[in-house]
Amino acid sequence: MSADVTVTVDGMPVTVPAGTMIIEAAKQAGVLVPHYCYHPSLPSPAVCRMCLVEVEKSPKLVPACVTQVAEGQVVHVSSATAKNARQGVLEFLLINHPLDCPICDQAGECELQDYVFQEGRVATRYGEYAKRFNPVEDFGPDVLYVPNRCILCTRCVRFMDDVAGAAVLNVSERGDRAYIGIAEEQLLDHPWAGNVVDLCPVGSLLSKDFLHKARAWDLDKTASICPGCTQGCSISIDTRDDVVVRFRPRPNLEVNRHFMCDTGRQGYRWLNRGDRVEAPLVREGARLVATDWDRALDRLGVLLEKTTGSVVLLASGRLSTESLGLARQLVAGRDVAAAIHVPMGDAQPLAGIPNLALRRERVPNLKGAELTGYVAGFERAFAAIPRAALVIVLDADLTPEEEARLAAAGAEVVWMGTVATDAQHHAQLVLPLTTMAEENGTYVNRDGRVQVFQQAKGAPGMARPAWWVAGEVLAGPGPDRDAPGTGAEAFAALGQYYPAFAGLSHADLGFTGLVLPPRLAEATR
């Protein structure tokens, strides 16, 4: 058997590996075969019958999701026969489907709405009959089931059975009385259960957290990376009027396929905090006084010059590699103890997907920090504080006890961060930083994959990325100064200091990132 097979889809020849299903071959040819039950990360039951296509010399229409390509096959997705079959399925799906799109969270991103709009019948022929009615059910911590909207595609059942490995959902009853049932005395509380909401092609499974929060068409979607743990799942940050309303998984076959865990999913609220530091503050005697960036940067330069002793850098693992790397260069060549704090939790693997889990290390950029000269854990850094001349707090979350130890030391403190804390009261200089949602940058996940996240919302007040602050200072004075102005430029600058990133650019990394060669991924500094 040859390794590749050439087929024609709607007149477009396409060559795909043998064994590919028609639906995927059609995708390669640029033809989307409408479907509901098929999902590339789930086994295919071929039950929705929406992806029936015409294959020349085949007596019947075939389901594109479970039919393998064959050499010379001629597939028609847009032929009248195939379209009529789809129209029939859509009509059947709609007879019991409520027309409540105006109050349905899925409206605007609903596959039933989309395909009916594309090629459904104009009017119903079901008219006078009552529609099936079942009450809304509470499935678990974040999932509501609205059975009236359900099209029985069984994606949710298969996700729980075959991917999560916790068979709590089922198809109950038969015929048109069928609905998605939940096992008695059970809840849909698996740590990855929230994915059923994304998988649902209609508004039948809803997130309670997102319920009636926004209309799909009002959302701005930004490609990003989950800041929840070292797995580094690709996500989309959905914002409405500069407020983050949800995280959703973004396909990345190498990292998270189509999924993300509930802990990551719910970890967006800190991005909307109102108690942000919005302007640079400089110490004037006992007070911290608001100032502009020029004077703040001058003060930072002076502080760095005059404190000639050892330095402690307390950073956050949520910072971008650019910020961590350039900030570390501010004190290059000196006696430095640089560290990030790594909060720990329980690992929660997703059984059906190899190498996908909510990891114990709950920061996104542990590897990036290690590659740019930081160690995990504050213990050694705090031990160095009593003899340090300068402590730079880089958006680190400090416990009250750690803040007290910092205050008791005699070192000068530069505080850069997002949310106001007590630690800044002891600082000579307070600089407002952006969160990961307010800047472009990269994280390096536990496997050494460098991935770009894009800016999803505006920064409050005068907040700037830490790499900008560091870049401005590193560039020094003068007319020929060359400070990075964008995240991409900061990443390029990173390459000058850290060989792991040399020659790479944000554009090279694309939407799914690149794995650093193992030789370079070793933490060398």
Partner: protein, 435 residues
Amino acid sequence: MGYPHPSHPKETVLLSRYFGDPGARAYAGWVERGGYEGLRKALAMPRADLIEMMKQSGLRGRGGAGFPTGLKWSFMPKDDGKPHYLVCNADESEPGTFKDREILRWTPHAVIEGCAIAAYAIHAERIYVYIRGEFTEAWRVMTRAVEEAYASGALGANVFGSGTRIDVVLHRGAGAYICGEETAMMNSIEGKRGNPRIKPPFPAQSGLFGMPTTINNVETLSAVPHILTRGAAWYKGLSLSSPRSTGTKLLSVCGHVQRPGNYEVTMGTPMRDLIFDMAGGMRPGRTLKAVIPGGSSVPIMSAAETEDCALDYEGIVAKGSMLGSGGVIVMDDSTDMVRTIWRYTRFYAHESCAQCTQCREGTAWTTKVLERILSGRGKQADLQLLLDLADNMTGKTICVLSDSCAAPVVSGIQKFREEFDAYIAGARRPVLAAV
């Protein structure tokens, strides 16, 4: 035998010979009547010869599809090192069909013997007999017969000293029509919801528990010992018509005939002989209106189409229907065709497994439209709607339940349109309350 009636001269009693004879149920009684000779003979034959013998006999599946049995057995892989399974489909639930029940009740050892021969032929050591849950008597009889067969060495680790292992597991259904579909049956045996599976893979590649599996009907397997004892040529000779339909067929005749019951005929016997001679014809003063020849899933035949119809696979197809399971439903001129068709669609709507969209929604919608017509509120456009729905429900789903629901609707509207029109025009009194 036209059980429960005496045998009719036009019958060819082969499988039904001992119906009503309690002595045939016991192992000893069965052996006295020539039982287990076929199995002993088979165990001495090379498997390839056995399969070739089945091919030569022309035996075809009696469950409905009519697939050649020898060919089906030959699809089983050879020397693949995997366990093979034989499943005996005793989940007889096609409306109008009651032949397997009588085979199981009266001649359980014929089933066991046929199963054992088939299992030997396909290298299966384990047989699952999936018995319809409602068949309590058949279940009791089969349970006893299996115990006796084990005790007598016809089943077990060393069948009749041949060194061949054959085990039988009796499995009871739980009341779902769809579990009679072979792939749904395999899911049901595995303890899963009885949903039909997508083919391919076919059962011979990946069937029960993912292993090569053959599924045969009770009647098919019961015919196998006779082919062994009397030869393939003799069996092939049992045909009055097409050489592609051989042997005898048990037909369950029900409905408006004077002597409903099971009649066993040689393939190719005229349908009229069955209805008017063996089953005693219409009740006095009544005339034949329609016949459903193969259980409710096949198209309805008008009286005229039964005229010169031969009872075999090809003969009925030539008249636009199918031999199916052999459940012959006879309807006289007192029959309300619209109501009859509604009753069938209601059955399919109830039994749809809910996997495929067309079947789940289409069977129920079709039933609702028919209810509207029967309640006197139908419209002329409803008939076109019914035909459109039937078209959308035909040839588009995993199994044929959806097609089975559409078949009587389409054939009913084609052949008895005036009855639909009468309800719609208000010329016939509504028989259902408005829905």
